[in-house]
Amino acid sequence: MLKQLIAIGLWVALCSVEVFATGDKPNGDYPIKDRFAATVIGTPKYYKADLPAEIPVKKYALPGLHSVPKLFWYSKNLHFSAALQEGRAPLVFNIAGTGAGYKSIKMQALQKALYQAGFHVINLSSPTYLNFLINASQSNLPGFLPEDAEDIYRVMELAYQKVEADADVSEFHVMGYSLGAAHAAFVAKLDQTRKTFNLQKVYMINPPVDLYNSVSILDQLLVDNVEGGIEGVGTFLDKTLNRLAASYEPKEGMHFDGDFLYGAYSSWDPSKRGVGPEGRNGAAALIGTSFRMSSANVVFAADLMSHTGYIIPPGTEFGRRERLDYYAKASHVVKFTEYVDHMVIPYLQKKYPGKSRKQLLGEASLHHIEDFLAGNAQVRVVTNRDEIILAPGELEYMEGLLGDRIKVFDHGGHCGNIDSKENVADMVAFLKGGQ
């Protein structure tokens, strides 16, 4: 629903895009030149990798670590999915990005691409996804990469035990996109000491370098692009949807998906495209809104599960039919950086006395494991020149660190080109290489 909500909201992107992909003759390069629009619209059909419509995927459940409050009755047990080959094959653990579950659209596309290329694929939700946060996060306060990695590693072990009888595995790889890419790197580092899997390859799609920098950038998108900040989101969505209503022609079989948006985007009169409402970038506003929604989910669930008492007074018990308006509103006011500063850091400082905030934030960044990344020939990063979640200098930092083990595409924003022909080919070639 969140996705649909966002999808219908995306319309505003169409009239706020400054750079336009001209002509309708696709030449193979990813066509959307505006980084925010690319992030929102994704890959238009023609440029998408050819993926099977359906693959055999099974859903599994693992017992949760904590007792689940009544309010979350629908989210007992941790869920993950696996697509398994008949014969012997390498197994890829695939980790979702911020707020995304194992079944999200991007995760499904990656699972299909890998399965098609002959891998066993286990899809795992992000530790910031409600179901994982409730059931598999030891602290219930996700966002600190070293601890997230411990949680994910435990889930990987249990998940593998579940499928072991049905999967003949030759070797193990790990990958992820966005926050999941950073998780993949930390998991691989952890595996060097734990050695359960002896992970061979690490593939990272659009990773953050310093997590705190990235969430600051995303927090700021809402502040800069939605009039009135979070208070204005209701009006912003309403306006966006009305704009959509004005141009929407109902046709059977037409959906509010990326292709629909791209179709409209391509046919949009360039003279009207200039600037969005109030001169703000609508696509950027949507990314900011959607990020804030993911972050509100984390704030509320983390607070309820960990009894931190940040917005929910300790001892509060919610019934299944509890009214949540107030808590919803309060959770959406909190920025992700505030969640880190007010909930995660205090918890960590209690746990590791003497560590400063700066030290802890430093540990949640790729800088902290740069020796591992630089010295390991089996680590590869793919990202875009117009990536939105990197602070100035961070792309150059990764290029310096990884040399020819980083592939930088010109366009795609943040994960907009994740299922394009080029990206899927890069992923499969790397994971298959040297076999």
Binding site: N131, V233, N297, F300, E317, R323, D325
Partner: protein
């Protein structure tokens, strides 16, 4: 009217189920921020001139707020629907998909969609949408004949697209406000106006009796069988899955998205 009676009984059962038997364990003690919650609730309290509110589309100051005075009951039904979906509905749909070839599924979907053209036609006509009414009528004629009782949809190939309208939309078109948000057992998100529309559309369907069941000795069995198949077919065509948004505020999100969607449909 056996089927209707059966359905009403199920609804009543669900309402009782939703509002009484779970009541005890579902009562939370979220006391401390009550005041603030109550402030918010007040914004949504029915106004003195309730009728005014029902006939005039309300414009809430906070666009995210939807008028939902029956929230506890609605949440109960929402949860009931989610459980029913998981335990019975989706497994049934999976079974149906496993035993039925895709082409047959498509045919069944088309068949029911063709039956619904009468409803579409009536409501297009009631909204004085002449072009849409004509398209709908042509679709019905073409698909019922060339498309063999609606199993195929050749009309779409001729560029005649479905013009979906229901009585809730008709009421909305003539200015009737949506009224309180209402989650209908088995159906999902709706509103007082749209649920009423659902009933009216059903009565029209029942009385027109497209399939000429009235004379049939087994009419009740056939009607129930068809209703079940239609329910399965509808669920098959609906992508929504309860509690998979990953948001603890799914109820609020769905409520907001649903209202926006209905408003867009009515404007068209």
């Amino acid at each position: 009217m056996n089927k209707l009676r059966y359905y009403s009984v199920m609804c009543l059962l669900t309402l009782c189920f939703g509002s009484s038997s779970w009541a005890e364990e579902e009562k939370g003690n979220a006391q401390i921020n009550r005041e603030k919650v109550e402030d918010l609730m007040e914004e949504q309290e029915p106004e003195a001139y309730e009728v005014q509110r029902l006939i005039k589309p309300e414009v809430p100051e906070n666009a995210l707020l939807v008028y939902d005075p029956w929230e506890p009951m609605n949440r109960g039904i929402y949860n009931f629907n989610a459980r029913f979906d998981r335990a019975i509905f989706l497994p049934t749909v999976r079974g149906y998909r496993a035993i039925t070839p895709d082409i047959v599924e498509k045919g069944i979907a088309n068949f029911f969609s063709n039956l619904a053209e009468v409803k579409n036609f009536v409501n297009n006509a009631l909204q004085l949408q002449l072009k849409s009414s004509a398209i709908t009528l042509s679709r019905f004629v073409v698909n019922s004949t060339l498309g063999v009782a609606g199993v195929w949809d050749p009309a779409e190939k001729f560029g005649m697209y479905k013009q979906k309208e229901d009585f809730g939309q008709t009421l909305g078109y003539w200015g009737v406000g949506s009224g309180p948000y209402l989650v209908v057992p088995f159906f999902g998100p709706s509103s007082l106006r749209d649920a009423t529309g659902l009933g009216v559309d059903y009565l029209v369907y029942y009385n027109i009796d497209e399939l000429d069941l009235k004379g049939d000795a087994n009419k009740d069995d056939i009607a129930i069988g068809l209703a079940l198949l239609m329910a399965i077919d509808t669920r098959r065509n609906t992508g929504f899955r309860y509690y998979e948004t990953g948001s603890p505020f799914e109820y609020e999100l769905v409520r907001f998205a649903h209202r926006q969607l209905r408003e867009i449909q009515i404007e068209k």
